[in-house]
Amino acid sequence: MEVSIFTKLDSLDRRWIFAFQALVFCIVILNPVGLALNVGDQVRTAFEAIESLPEGSIVWFATDYQAANAAELEPAAIAIFKHCMQKNLRVISGSTWPEGGAMMSRLINYVAPEFPDKEYGVDYLNLGYRPGGQVWLQQLTDDLPAAVGGIDHFGDPISAYPIMEGLEVIQDVAMIIGIHVGTPGTPEYIRVITDPHNVPMITVLPAVSVAVTMPYLASGQLVSIVASLRGGAEYELISGFSGTAMTGMDSQSFMNLTIVIFVILGNIGFFYNKYKEGSSGGGGDNV
């Protein structure tokens, strides 16, 4: 019996979809179209907030993520880091995630070559991971040097570093850049540090966390959300530090288009079968 193409559309093997997606990635990466990118309100707000910080202010990078998330978040983090260096701000990072110290080292490796006159311990510092999650964040609000045990990620005493001057508690920082993907993350920072002590925070988030975090932005508990690779691309554009995110925008467009096309094809197949058989087909769900 001949099976109609529409019937097949209802139940393609997922591996065909995988293969098609991979093909689209290859084509778009090798032939970029260069669709225009506009800087959105969120990234503009974030940029202006950092732009307005006085020289010498401390910016706290909360590197609470791991290598799996680096691809999505690093472009934004790098662009913001570079912007901070350009504005002569001091960048200090600490993490509630065991991988956080390694992530800050990666960021430093990307940023340092462009600013040869900036020095570790003077302009930026990696305090690394400490256990305790939000309890450690609470300790940062009481006595920051004690909370980190007086040492940085590499075990060297922080008292020797000029960058620590004037930093007794985390409330002394001018801005928190929360690079967050899970728990502990943005909610913990809001509950323990930013909300009770009115410290402004910009979060760099993976797309999956954006919708969940939006209520905190709408209520004014966050300054801005720099979302995903797109946020990174916009920040690269507005700050003038070109990076890798821009090149990704075309692929995102076409991959989303691909998925939308598959969704539409699936629905055509679904309705065709329903029309033919008078009964529903395909994988059931109760949506």
Binding site: R14, I17, L35, M214, Q252, G282
Partner: protein
């Protein structure tokens, strides 16, 4: 002592902490700081539990020669090899960071990236307009999917606007209500713990 002791410790430490944080009393203030410090030390020193469990599970599989025991053996060898490498050489040691950056990182990133493919096939299979609820999910999803990428503004500036609106208003409302409910749920659970009503964490007799 097997049940009452832990419950008593839970209640005392919890109540002490709450009192010292909520009361504006200089006498109680250091109590919270001390408890914070202790908490961090306990958390920081129980981390080997995970490693012991990992060793147990995989070691047992090796000893029993269960199917695929080779992978379990490999895991244990690499785990302890890497720990020794790190402890001897320090955090900054080249081999230690090389393995993290050039072996772990690509694997982890790639595993994470397979989600793109899973998400594609899940969307294809599940986003069917079977009923009103599904149709709403589908339409909102498609508008946001197209509206949040550069292609959306290339087609029509109205699409990104619609996507932004969906995210800024109905989505914020829905998420906010979920968050408020979750806050209350968490507080009730905490109240049940601190009053000794919730004890299922001790049911491993």
């Amino acid at each position: 002592m097997k049940r009452e002791g832990p419950i008593a410790l839970l209640m005392i430490s919890g109540v002490l902490y709450i009192v010292s944080v909520m009361l504006a009393s200089p006498v109680m203030e250091p109590v919270a700081a001390t408890l914070d410090d202790w908490y961090k030390i306990v958390v920081g020193f129980i981390n080997l539990v995970g490693i012991i469990s990992l060793t147990q599970v995989n070691g047992r599989a090796v000893l029993r020669k269960s199917s695929g025991w080779f992978y379990n053996a490999l895991l244990i060898v690499v785990l302890y090899g890497y720990i020794i490498l790190g402890l001897v050489g320090g955090v900054g040691n080249v081999a230690f960071t090389r393995i993290y950056d050039n072996i772990l990182t690509p694997i982890l990133m790639t595993i994470f990236s397979t989600l793109t493919f899973w998400i594609g096939s899940a969307a294809y299979r599940a986003f069917r307009a079977k009923n009103l609820d599904a149709a709403i999910l589908l339409v909102a999803g498609i508008v946001v999917m197209i509206g949040r990428v550069t292609l959306g503004s290339a087609i029509s500036p109205a699409i990104p606007k619609a996507a932004e609106w969906i995210l800024n208003f109905p989505t914020v409302a829905g998420m906010r209500a979920i968050e408020m409910g979750a806050a209350i749920g968490g507080i009730v659970l905490a109240l049940r713990m601190i009053t000794g009503l919730e004890r299922s964490f001790m049911s491993n007799d």
